[in-house]
Amino acid sequence: MNGTTEQELRSIELFLYREARYADEHDYDAWEALWTDDALYWVPADEDANDPRTQVSVIYDNRNRISTRLKQLRTGKRYSQSPPSNLRRLLTNIEVLGVDKGDTVVGANFFVAESRERGTQFWAGRVTYHLRIVDGEFRMSYKKVKLVDSDRALPTMAFLI
């Protein structure tokens, strides 16, 4: 996008890579700290879904529910993540797309390999972040994960995508 310097883009990329690493490595405390208080974490259930308040989603978490999700994972009794999935993800095609209410809108493509007892599963799609500088550091206020196969039957998705 016009107005984004190489250096800004680089710092955004480094932030996103860090977010990806925390999610892959189940570093729940570090991942949780990346969110703003007004956070939204959304995984739509249908290809053309545009309103999680009137349409069924897979995940639609506000900040409180993000925290609950992580609390549940930390108990060790979230059986669908105990043992946790072995995860590694690739983030590519990172672009700054604009500004929304002061937050920087960033788009990227992702690919996740998930290995569990049930087998290895590949997840791919488009992720949209809204980023904000809080106390001199990037925070996420929004993360939308649109799966390429959201119109098909999904396996359990109890890990952080």
């Binding site: 249908d46 009137t54 039957a153 396996p155």
Partner: protein, 426 residues
Amino acid sequence: MSLLDDHVVTGTGLVDEDTGRGRFRVHRCAMTAPEVLNRELAEIFNRCWLYVGHTSEVTEPGDYVRRSVGGRPVFMVRARKSGQVKVFHNTCPHRGAVVCRADTGNTKIFQCFYHAWTFDTEGRLTGMPGRDAYEGGADFAELSLREVARVEEYRGFVFACYDPEAVDLVTYLGQAREYLDLVVDAMGEPEIVAGSNQYSINANWKLLVENSIDGYHGPSTHDTYIKYIVSQGTDIRSGAGGGNAGYDLGNGHGVIEYGAPWGRPIAKWDPLFGENARPGMEQTAQDLARRFGESRGHAMTHTNRNLLIFPNLVINDIMAVTVRTLMPTAAGHVEVNAWQLAPRDEAEDVRAQRLDSFLTFLGPGGFATPDDLEALESCQQGFASGGVEWSDISRGMGRDRAKHDDEEQIRAFWRQWQAVVEGSAR
């Protein structure tokens, strides 16, 4: 493998009920053998009434939805002339191509793209390029879209059956109707909420049938969910004394009923819904009690129901109302479609809370469903170990009146399953 050799191909002897000993068990090859799945496809999914969709999904003339029903592609359409809801096999009478290629929409005609035959929403063949080549006497009526052999509706729920000889739907539903009525009456005019969850499990489909009406696993499998709602101010003792019970409804249908330990969008308020929603929900509860009487009203607002309509429709009226179908694609794999049902005139913020309430528990990313799926996959993995031939489903057999965390409603399913699979239900 002796039992496998003797019984799998015919499907007999896989369910063993011994009332004298209070023992009910199911042979695990019912969950693992491809031969059993073949029998199920022929005897169950080709003969039983199967849920297709809800009339609220096709309200306007020309509205349609595409579905897979019993593993076959079909589509349901509100025909423009007759106003009827029709269900067609999704294959072109010409040479086979899929005719309806979108999940939902509204149309005047369906056109097969292969050779451009067109059909109206009643299914009639209305046009084709080069019609004069058929002057030898093609019967255009015979070349119309083929309707599924039987299609009937009960209070908005549209079912289809591939067997022209099947009993009518109302007879088939039997006592299960009463429970469908409760769900529908509580909502006035229900509608399917936009969107759906689709998920898959590496487990036999019948394990999900069992799980969907199993009150026994809640406290163990969903311990973290229950702790969460307690931490948010839910008083789970509020469900106590709710007439907890499990019933065999006949024809393979079964239900559990239990006092809701959590809030329900119609209309048991809970802190999770927020103070703003409280007066409206309490008002609804009072209105329903006035209209339907204290006890039926209470059942609508404060009692949870997990209802199985044989073979593969589950309606769980819990912290939201979910309508779920399941279909095996292999002995060890099942695909699930889950919709939400809600009152059509529901206020915007209550609807949003309902969706939230649903996601808190349900779906492939919910706080509970993934742990169910994990349990089912774990069972399927366990079966591979062998050594143990039978699964035990005896819980509560000695009781006069089964509880919701007994397994009577699960036995109801299995009894019918056995009869249908071995052909003695005909």
